[in-house]
């Protein structure tokens, strides 16, 4: 088991795993998203209060979960890279940042489109919306900091430090609807009493969530290959990998 764990620190091993996994993850993501879209848009019944507008949940909630999940992955990978000086950690963090930023933007835009008919406004300085916007700024800050240094190793360390410090915003995003008065609704899926949705609405949502997670894994595999190649350009194994 530990041998497997140690191999995760090896760039050629991670590169090989990423090459092998990417197509499978893309295929599984496509299936899960296709089922979620069809069942969510055409089969699930309309909500008794929000009518057909509730269907925006199938794009908004999976992207919102992904926005904080990807940040957490980025922060953990950064911490691993800083503490144990494992270069693959920096590669995973660098690969995750643009993906997380794009899904945070998706969360803000889809939430804004949902907010207009339900709250009467596209934007409010609400705790959940504001903390999600700060999350987007953190992603942009991490990416900018990494590219601001001529020495890539210094850029990696500075970006990793900001990613680790910024993880404090993740619980703020999650608990903002509990700690403060908020326009945004509270937890719907994970509650002590169980999900507050019937199965016909819940299963498409879970499928979309799974599909988005698999999609992140697939895109991460492609981006990690690029990051590892850039960092290991002078290594002998890269020559072999490029030739094959």
């Amino acid at each position: 088991m530990w041998t497997w764990f140690y191999k995760l620190a090896s760039p050629p091993h991670v590169f090989g795993v990423a090459v092998a996994l990417a197509p499978w993850l893309f295929s599984a993501a496509a299936l899960a998203i296709a089922y979620g879209l069809i069942a969510g848009l055409a089969i699930a019944p309309p909500d008794y209060q929000q009518g057909e507008a509730f269907r925006m949940i199938y794009a908004h909630v999976p992207s919102a979960i992904l926005s904080v999940t990807v940040y957490t992955v980025m922060a953990v990978a950064s911490a691993v890279a800083l503490i144990w000086r494992i270069k693959v950690g920096h590669a995973v963090a660098a690969a995750s940042a643009p993906i997380g930023a794009s899904f945070t933007l998706m969360t803000l835009v889809t939430g804004s489109l949902w907010g207009r008919p339900m709250w009467g406004t596209y934007w409010a300085w609400d705790p959940r919306l504001t903390s999600e916007l700060i999350l987007l700024f953190l992603y942009v800050g991490v990416m900018s900091l990494r590219s601001a240094f001529e020495d890539p190793a210094r850029g990696d360390r500075a970006a990793a430090l900001l990613a680790v410090v910024g993880v404090v915003n993740v619980p703020i995003v999650h608990f903002s609807v509990v700690w403060w008065n908020s326009l945004h609704q509270g937890a719907t899926i994970v509650t002590l009493e169980g999900p507050k949705m019937p199965g016909s609405m819940l299963w498409p949502l879970l499928s979309m969530w799974l599909g988005f997670m698999l999609f992140y894994g697939a895109v991460l595999c492609i981006r990690v290959q690029a990051e590892v190649l850039d960092r290991e350009r002078q290594s002998a194994w890269v020559r072999e990998a490029i030739k094959s």
């Binding site: 057909e52 507008a53 269907r55 794009s102 949902w114 008919p117 981006r223 490029i242």
Partner: protein
């Protein structure tokens, strides 16, 4: 079928919402593949330069 596209009067919010989500997914695939192609190009160039400089 037209009821489906009408979305109970919320079509102008629901479809742009899913349209934007689709754009983000496609952008992720495109930009990741572009980043990998660029990294492979840089690695190949570095190999060629190293071979050229070799005695």
């Amino acid at each position: 079928m037209s009821d489906f596209w009408f979305m109970g009067g919320y079509a102008r919010y629901v479809w742009p919402c899913f349209g934007f989500a689709g754009i983000v997914l496609l952008w992720n695939i495109w930009s990741a593949r572009r980043a990998l192609a660029a990294a492979k190009f840089r690695a190949t160039r570095a190999m060629a330069m190293a071979a050229g400089e070799a005695p």
